[in-house]
């Protein structure tokens, strides 16, 4: 398959993830959308690295995977704390910092 096919697939997954981030009310649902977007970026990195025979794409993907795990752990911990305090994880109701 040509490089463009992989990039188009990644762009589609990214668009779907963006749609999830924009439309979900639930904070965990928003995090799931972010996961999809990060995955799309990983596909891009590996595809570019493969088609240029460059190892950096694979290495960067390993790094983003590890950082994503850390991000999810902290993000969900924050969600649980917010839930304890506010009894909701509806992002529309979390407007404590609204000016």
């Amino acid at each position: 398959m040509p490089l463009g096919a992989y990039l188009t697939l990644a762009a589609l997954v990214f668009a779907i993830g963006l749609f999830g981030v924009l439309t979900r009310r639930n904070a965990v649902g928003i995090l799931l959308g972010i996961e999809l977007m990060l995955n799309a970026v990983n596909i891009n990195l590996v595809a570019f690295g493969r088609f240029h025979a460059d190892l950096a794409g694979v290495i960067f993907t390993l790094f983003t995977i590890a950082i994503t795990v850390a991000e999810v752990a902290v993000g969900l911990a924050i969600v649980i704390v917010i839930f304890r305090v506010r009894r909701t994880i509806d992002a529309d109701h979390l407007d404590l910092l609204r000016g």
Binding site: G17, L18, G29, L32, V46, L76, I80
Partner: protein, 164 residues
């Protein structure tokens, strides 16, 4: 139609369908299961791109670790609230418009891109090369990553500790 094209088409359909499931299903738990399918099929895309090591890392870290953590979080919050959390969506049309515009913008760049040649062969064993690079040129970033993971673990523990 070659076997690679068939495999790519199949995995693309599974990936896109499960991604749509993640953002559209009202049941949060089902959304996480769809996410697991999407993550595994992303790993299969890595396999198609001749990166079997990344497929393993994707399965272990993403499909194993992330999905487990999210399931735990959902179960904790549902236990606290005492009822199943339905997740609704809002601004569906606006979100679809923004996402479609983003996709069209990216594809606009892809169309202008000069056609890339066929993929060059990898010089030697990819997994061995990744291992050597991780302890060679990328040794310092890997150590920093280890520090980051420790910090993230401590931060998560600090946030989620009990009040007493």
């Amino acid at each position: 139609m070659t076997a690679e094209m068939l495999a790519f088409a199949g995995v693309a359909v599974v990936l896109l369908a499960s991604s749509l499931g993640v953002v559209l299903t009202p049941n949060l738990f089902h959304a996480v299961l769809y996410l697991a399918v999407a993550l595994v099929s992303t790993g299969v895309v890595f396999l198609l791109l001749d990166a079997p090591f990344l497929f393993g890392a994707q399965l272990l870290l993403y499909a194993g670790g992330v999905v487990t953590i999210v399931v735990f979080a959902i179960m904790l919050t549902e236990r606290l609230v005492g009822q199943s959390i339905r997740q609704t969506s809002r601004y569906l049309i606006n979100g679809a418009l923004v996402s479609a515009a983003m996709f069209v913008g990216v594809v606009g760049f892809l169309v202008q891109m000069p056609p890339a040649g066929p993929r060059p062969p990898w010089p030697g064993d990819l997994t061995a090369a990744v291992g050597r690079a991780l302890v060679g040129a990328f040794a310092v970033p890997v150590e920093l990553l280890a520090v980051l993971l420790v910090i993230a673990l401590l931060g998560a523990l600090y946030f989620a500790r009990s009040e007493s």
